[in-house]
């Protein structure tokens, strides 16, 4: 479904990704862990081309997408994204946030888009907040609207960039529940997170990144309980404590 082959990315002198290879199959939930600055966010951004890889290939459903002939906008319609800081459009209600993509990008009729947006808000448990503005919602509610907004584009996969890191502890559960339900429904997901509960309970596979390379990958159980690499062990030890 999503393949990454030998991807490199530098920002100036900073070599952030140093040859990443990744293969995510349909319906798989892949959790990416690793210390900050290890290139996890950049990897996600290379997949939906918010960041253009310097070298290497990114495939979506077998089509190489980081080519000049392919519009990055088209790629981003296929692969949704949920951000650490939610990034809801502050000048729009929750409903309008969810409707905007279908309306402007897909050109769907307003009534249809509204019906669908309402259904999606109900699905993330926020039917009653359709007319609230982002500033009137809690962090957890904002992130659930952001997930509904990504779902509204009918993406083939969704990238989650530390979706619970900016949340107060009491709101983390509700966001993880929505993500878990999504995973159970067969959505292909790549999740950068340090939520070990989510990783061991929901992920099919965990990838440990350090200094721009994938150091270790495997079943969550395996990576958390029997890390092979010294640095994985050190990192897992820190976040499990």
């Amino acid at each position: 479904m999503i393949q990454v082959e030998g991807v490199h990315k530098s920002f100036g002198a900073l070599h952030v990704l140093r040859g990443i290879n990744l293969d995510v199959s349909r319906g798989e939930v892949l959790v990416v862990i690793g210390p900050s600055g290890s290139g996890k966010s950049t990897l996600l951004r290379c997949i939906n081309l918010l960041v253009e890889p310097d070298a290497g290939k990114v495939y979506i459903e077998g089509v190489q997408v980081n080519r000049p002939e392919i519009r990055p906008e088209w790629v981003r319609q296929q692969v949704g994204m949920v951000f650490q800081s939610f990034n809801l459009f502050t000048h729009m209600t929750a409903l309008e946030n969810v409707m905007l993509g279908p309306l402007k990008v897909k050109g769907i009729a307003r009534e249809t888009a509204e019906q669908k947006a309402k259904a999606l808000l109900a699905r993330v448990g926020l039917a009653a907040k359709a007319n609230a503005y982002p500033a009137e919602l809690s962090g957890g509610q904002q992130q659930r609207v952001a997930i509904a907004r990504a779902l509204a584009m009918d993406p083939k996969a969704i990238l989650f960039d530390e979706p619970t890191s900016a949340l107060d502890p009491e709101y983390i559960r509700e966001v993880l529940d929505v993500m878990t339900a999504l995973a159970r429904e067969g959505m292909t997901m790549i999740v950068v997170t340090h939520e070990m509960g989510f990783a061991s309970g929901v992920a099919n596979r965990v990838v440990f990144m350090d200094a721009g390379v994938i150091l270790e990958e495997g079943h969550p159980e395996e990576v958390f309980s029997h890390p092979k690499h010294e640095r994985t062990r050190a990192f897992v030890g820190k976040i499990l404590r």
């Binding site: 981003r76 459009f89 009653a128 500033a135």
Partner: protein, 288 residues
């Protein structure tokens, strides 16, 4: 349950003109009238003094037609400079933040220049320069005036460029990324996400700048514009030197001030309505 649902999903629209808006406007106008009535009493003149308006005393200097014609001319200069200055300000403000950086420093130089030189100097300079720059067949007697008006618009545009730049820069990078992540093209992201948020913050200072520009059109008198201010200045000389009725000056200049006040008041009220259109709940300023 069904009623709760219906209540929650009802689309709310903020009414643009509320009874509060109307009351505020009426209050301001009543305030202006009370003020005028008071200074008439204190300074011993009448706003409706027939010696000024009918022209019996002033012989050739008949003020009423000048007042009407001058107001029309002022309106012409305002409706010419305001849109031009907004267009200049918007595109230059955008150029300052655009990904394409080549325009950024020329715009910075432009802004520094037009903010650093007095508008009167720029207006005079442009009126002299215009006939030298343009090919002779395009030059009419109005050319120096129009060049002066353009210079005034460019002066105000420099200030507005800074206002728009601040507006654009206030929109966080994440907002643009979220729009991109939905598959929006740059133009769509600009139109639906960046612009509405940038404008929300640019509108209040923009209204301020409009009020300044409306009154600054009176500066065009230095290059011979017979707008409301130009005609009144000429009439004032007649009153002071030829007639010696100084109280008529109070009558005239109070009337002039009232016209500028009403114009500015109207435009700033319209800006308030536009601001309300861009209102987002939860982002209100603190009430201190």
């Amino acid at each position: 349950m069904a009623t709760v649902e219906a209540e929650a999903t009802r689309t709310e629209t903020v009414p643009l003109i509320t009874s509060k808006t109307v009351i505020r406007a009426v209050e301001a106008l009543v305030g202006a009238i009370v003020f005028v009535v008071l200074i008439q009493y204190v300074l011993r003149f009448s706003l409706f003094d027939p010696d000024l308006w009918s022209g019996a005393t002033l012989r050739q200097a008949n003020y009423w037609p000048r007042f009407v014609d001058g107001t029309k001319t002022s309106l012409f200069y305002i409706s010419l400079t305001l849109p031009i200055s907004v267009a200049i300000g918007f595109f230059l403000g955008w150029a300052r933040v655009a990904r394409f950086k080549a325009f950024s420093w020329p715009v910075a130089v432009y802004v520094d220049f037009f903010r650093g030189v007095p508008p009167l100097v720029i207006i005079i300079f442009a009126s002299l320069l215009g006939p030298k720059l343009l090919p002779p067949r395009f030059i009419t007697p109005d050319t120096p005036l129009l060049m002066g008006a353009l210079a005034l618009a460019m002066h105000s545009g420099a200030y507005q460029a800074e206002i728009f730049r601040a507006g654009f820069q206030s929109v966080s990078r994440g907002q643009l990324e979220a729009a991109q992540a939905l598959g929006m093209r740059p133009g769509q992201a600009m139109q639906s996400v960046v612009l509405p948020q940038a404008l929300r913050l640019s509108l209040p200072p923009l209204g301020n700048e409009f009020a300044v520009l409306i009154k600054d059109t009176s500066l065009l008198y230095v290059i011979g514009a017979f707008d409301l201010f130009g005609w009144s200045l000429l009439t004032g000389q007649t009153i002071a030197i030829d007639v010696g009725r100084l109280e008529l000056l109070f009558t005239m200049w109070t009337s002039v001030a009232l016209v500028y006040f009403v114009l500015t008041f109207a435009v700033t009220r319209v800006m308030l309505l536009v601001e309300r259109r861009f209102h987002a709940r939860g982002l209100e300023a603190l009430s201190i």
